[in-house]
């Protein structure tokens, strides 16, 4: 990852969109201090509600994880304890966050299950994860993440493993909870459709860098960076069956070597000499839209 900057406010859903290897998950993990030992943050800071998270010890950041910053991962089965009833898993977390007894936690637990659209919370609380469908499990994971409730929720591809009709349900639920609890959400996804559906703002990442960011409307309807442009035209829902899909030639560059110019230059159809030599300038196109590109500056 290289010089990534982003911010998200309460009540806002920020989508980080990118293909595999773009660094979108690494961004999320670094916020929570969950990077591998061999990875380190060389520069910069992560400021959460006035505190720089990069300066905290493991023990201190532990207080943020789960409590003030919640996390939802892609695969709901691995996030749940397989041999513990749903209700117990939830009450355990509530007990901890709110410093309550098991008995006191019980009604809160039922309330939370209702929050994530379970009509019969008592029944669900008795079940084990394997008795639930993928979509139901993901709702439980969201309930777990929301139990504190946190101020920031990081959702890493929360709907990728789910069917479309279920995906739609989960996205609606996330929007609803964002409003209800007035939390900030960072949604990591590779799916531009999901971005259009839920997010307020978007960061487009490629090979560890942010190439463009702006409001969802700006990025999807009026993309400026050639990569964003190509990516949108590579989507099969954007073209008629008779037309060819936009291909992006080549592959993501090897990040072990330091590239002096624009990270996308090797695959960019519009690249000129300077793109390969000097890092592109950061251009503000509006109060919200920002792009790193030589072509746009010309």
């Amino acid at each position: 990852m290289d010089r990534v900057s982003l911010s998200v406010d309460r009540g806002e859903i920020l989508a980080i969109v990118g293909e595999s290897g773009s660094g979108k998950s690494v961004t999320a993990l670094s916020i929570l201090g969950l990077l591998d030992k061999n990875a380190k943050i060389e520069q910069g800071n992560i400021v959460f509600d006035g505190t720089d998270l990069t300066k905290l010890s493991t023990k201190e950041i532990q207080k943020y994880r789960g409590k003030r910053i919640g996390m939802v991962f892609q695969e709901p089965m691995t996030a749940l304890h397989p041999t513990m009833r749903i209700g117990d898993q939830l009450t355990n977390v509530i007990k901890r966050h709110h410093k309550l007894t098991k008995k006191e936690s019980h009604p809160i637990m039922l309330e939370m299950l209702k929050d994530v659209h379970f009509e019969e919370p008592e029944l669900i609380a008795q079940k084990y994860p394997h008795e639930l469908s993928g979509g139901m499990r993901q709702r439980i994971v969201i309930a777990l993440a929301m139990s504190a409730p946190p101020e920031l929720l990081i959702a890493d591809e929360p709907t990728t493993a789910l069917d479309v009709t279920i995906q739609a349900e989960i996205l609606t639920l996330m929007k609803e909870l964002t409003q209800k609890y007035n939390i900030a959400v960072i949604l990591i996804t590779h799916d531009l459709g999901v971005v259009r559906e839920v997010s307020d703002n978007v960061c487009v990442m490629y090979a560890g860098k942010i190439l463009e960011k702006g409001t969802t409307k700006e990025i999807l309807d009026n993309p400026k960076h050639p990569y964003t442009n190509l990516l949108l035209r590579a989507l099969p829902d954007q073209v008629n069956p008779g037309e060819r899909l936009q291909e992006i030639e080549g592959e993501v560059p090897d990040l072990k070597q330091h590239l002096p110019g624009c990270i996308f230059s090797s695959r960019c159809p519009l690249s000129k000499d300077e793109c390969f030599i000097k890092a592109p300038p950061q251009l503000s196109l509006s109060e919200t839209q920002m792009v790193h590109c030589w072509e746009v500056s010309r």
Partner: protein, 254 residues
């Protein structure tokens, strides 16, 4: 148009679970027929019955007017006329085989004269180039390739026997959008060049719309709606089709 593959009232039960229930459809030569549905709808079970992994409990599957299943036995008149490309190119390519071995493996079943002719170096190089790979890739192992390249290897393996029909089971679901575009374009080009017939299985409605001439919508083992892609997308009749279409994220809803 001549019918290439005909599915007649097939059913399949696993234990108490009715995976496929009385499904029928036809594939005309040269077209792409899409099967769309969510997990558990029976898409893959249908694929497995066509390519010979599971015998249908009931019904008939005819390929080139010949019945594929006779009393629980799978038999083909001619080998190599039907091929398949699987979803996950990580697990569908043997990690210990070179690309050369992988793509020539389907030839083993063919008569030795054809086998000899088709595994000629020149033929292999042309095939590699056609799917967008290079000659030197022939002697490498699958782990040296990206997901998109691996799917190209899987496509080369399917093409080597000069099939009439290729079953594409979620061929781009594991790929990034930009790579998906490359593979879909390649599949369309190959179809035009070789007059291939595709059965395209996917859960992704946008991909189905882009690739297919006709579509069958599967729901809990039943085909609930079947029609041209235009009809399905512009005037869906069945409530489930409507639900599926309205669930596509980012689609402008009217």
């Amino acid at each position: 148009m001549e019918t290439l593959l005909q599915i007649q009232n097939i059913s399949k039960v696993f234990g108490n679970f009715q995976a496929v229930n009385n499904v029928s459809f036809k594939l005309k030569k040269g077209e792409t027929f899409g099967l769309v549905g969510e997990s558990g709808s029976g898409k893959t079970t249908i694929a497995n019955m066509i390519i010979g992994i599971h015998a249908p409990a009931d019904g008939k599957i005819k390929f080139q007017n010949q019945s594929l299943w006779e009393r629980g036995k799978y038999n083909r008149k001619e080998h190599g006329k039907m091929q398949i490309v699987f979803q996950d190119p990580q697990s569908s390519l043997d990690p210990r085989m070179t690309v050369r071995k992988i793509i020539t493996e389907p030839l083993f079943i063919l008569p030795s004269s054809i086998k000899k002719y088709k595994s000629k170096e020149e033929n292999l190089v042309n095939l590699m180039k056609r799917v967008g790979l290079q000659e030197e890739h022939l002697d490498r192992n699958p782990h040296e390739f990206s997901g998109g390249q691996r799917q190209r290897i899987a496509i080369a393996r399917a093409l080597i026997t000069d099939p009439e029909f290729i079953l594409l089971d979620e061929p781009t679901s594991a790929l990034d959008v930009s790579v998906q575009a490359q593979v879909l374009n390649l599949l369309k080009d190959l179809q035009q060049e070789k007059g291939l017939t595709y059965l395209f299985i996917s859960h992704n409605m946008s991909v189905i719309r882009y690739m297919c001439n006709r579509v069958g919508v599967l729901y809990k083992g039943n085909i609930v709606e079947i029609g041209t892609t235009k009809d399905i997308f512009e005037s869906p009749k069945h409530p489930y089709t409507k639900k599926l279409l309205s669930s596509i994220p980012g689609m402008q809803k009217n």
